[in-house]
Symmetry: C2
Subunit: 326 residues, 2 copies
């Protein structure tokens, strides 16, 4: 990874560590410090710094504003984990498990307010309204995406386009906002603001498709979670949606058998569904879709009115993420 990117991450982490959030009652603030300290890639504030450096040198200036996006992201994780009944987050107990659901609801609520507080304290007044309007839009779309994702669990059939729209809302628009935030804070070129947003949305959809692929095809040694977890849980990923669409005859019968199986050997199910995916060329199809979105993101990057050597830092970073786990 590029040296300046490492430094960006250090300054983001240092700003997060210095944030106290609040003291009393401690049941409200301990969970906030806890989830914020679990780490993660700090991808969203990093994206804000990366778009800012395209136009300006002093990236440190926008670290506090960029942290607002990380607070918001962790708020969504805290609430999503309650809704999804998730026991673990980044290998540690989730907040509703370690404390309880009321604490996780309320600490999350405070985090959402804290995100606004952070923007208001650290964005220049003349840009604040625009930033908050775009943030509101983004925050609402993230909630819509989460609700649509929950709705999908109850649906028999999900269409490919609806899935792409769901991941656009649930995960990609926040990457778009993060990149646009750095752009808005750096300069006033609205065409570039829009391109930065589009780049984030396109890359975000690509990264989610990559996550769907990795869950099936990752090297278990390098992968943080159980490979095949999505298959075991019948999670409606892009791969399963395409397989259901394309399967016919024997493949369709086998796929339905495994989707309806109650008692099964996990490894046997994962291998059987992978065989169906192989037969239907699902990996290639998903890679092609993913690469379409990455190509669009790189095209957005090319189109920006910024120095080529600065763009290269973002291009290299995206390529690093794309190649890291494959």
């Amino acid at each position: 990874m590029n040296q300046s990117i490492k430094e960006y991450i250090i300054s983001i982490n240092s700003a997060i560590e210095q944030e106290n959030f609040g003291d009393k009652p401690q049941e409200l603030y301990e969970p906030i410090r806890y989830i914020m300290s679990l780490g993660g890639k700090r991808m969203r504030p990093l994206l804000s710094l990366l778009s800012y450096q395209l136009y300006k040198e002093n990236t440190k200036d926008i670290v506090p504003a960029s942290v607002a996006v990380e607070i918001f992201h962790n708020f969504t994780l805290m609430h999503d984990d309650i809704m999804d009944n998730a026991p673990l987050r980044r290998g540690q107990q989730t907040v509703h498990e370690k404390w309880n659901s009321p604490v996780a609801i309320l600490s999350g609520d405070v985090m959402l307010v804290k995100a606004y507080q952070q923007f208001i304290a650290h964005c220049p007044i003349e840009k604040l309204t625009e930033i908050l309007q775009k943030f509101n839009q983004c925050a609402i779309e993230v909630c819509e995406g989460q609700q649509i994702d929950m709705n999908f669990e109850e649906m028999e059939q999900v269409h490919e386009d609806d899935y792409i729209e769901m991941i656009r809302l649930k995960t990609a628009v926040l990457l778009g906002f993060s990149l646009e935030l750095g752009g808005i804070l750096a300069m006033d070129n609205e065409a570039d603001h829009a391109l930065l947003y589009q780049m984030g949305v396109n890359a975000g959809i690509g990264f989610q498709l990559m996550d769907d692929l990795l869950d099936v095809y990752a090297d278990q040694e390098k992968f943080g979670k159980q490979v095949g977890g999505d298959i075991i849980a019948n999670k409606k990923t892009y791969l399963l949606i395409k397989a259901k669409e394309l399967a016919s005859g024997e493949n369709s019968i086998k796929l339905n058998h495994w989707l309806n199986a109650k008692d099964f050997d996990k490894e046997e199910k994962v291998n059987a569904v992978k065989d169906i995916y192989d037969d239907l060329n699902i990996k290639k199809l998903t890679e092609a879709k993913m690469n379409q979105y990455f190509e669009k993101a790189f095209q957005n990057l090319d189109d920006l009115d910024a120095p080529a050597e600065k763009k290269l830092i973002i291009k290299d970073f995206f390529n690093y993420l794309i190649n890291r786990e494959q």
Copy 2:
């Protein structure tokens, strides 16, 4: 009730009815329209209009901004009802009962964002930062109050001062903010902004003490809930806290008996605890405390730099609320 107050409430309700909030996914937006349509006194936006009319005529101008406070208030109700496992709200099913908890968490989250959206869309730009800073502070304090209230449930002994501080945070500061909001939107006299806030906080503490009293002493015919509900549930109200503090000898033994009783006749418990309250003069003590706060609120009102006949509208409204259910 004063004719202009009735008109204020009509214009607030009409603004709320015209608000669509959003369409898809409907699981996210139906619960918002549902809870906003359950009614209630619309006390908070009404307070904003009442403070605004002290200084300006065109109260209609601030109806949209005042609705933000009502959206925020209903967000707190939606989330509190999950945390408190409440089956009913204003005689109707709560959102987590009618739908489910994930829906109530996520719809509530969207409402909090919508409250910000409403402020940003309808507050003059030069006042927006101040309003949002004060709203953030208030929103965080409301969450702190709810957490402290939940903590009290687990505690053996709660001190009177801690109880007053809890209700200040949980309910009174939002009345303070609502009044201050109308003041900020009307004029720039910071001394009056502070007085309006204090008036709301003092009145809010008074109203909560009144609620504590009514839960025990209201006329069942007029009271919306079961009289004695707090006693049955061992709710740590001001009355119970004072009774535990003052009870000795036989009263202390009896009070502890009823607080620890598992199987009991509800009416018998309510009457027995009321007898102890009577013996300890709890009603008078609570009324005295409540009246202290109402007197402070009326003093704040007196001190405002506004026309006496406009102040009288607020004074009459507070007196109407104070005398209505007693």
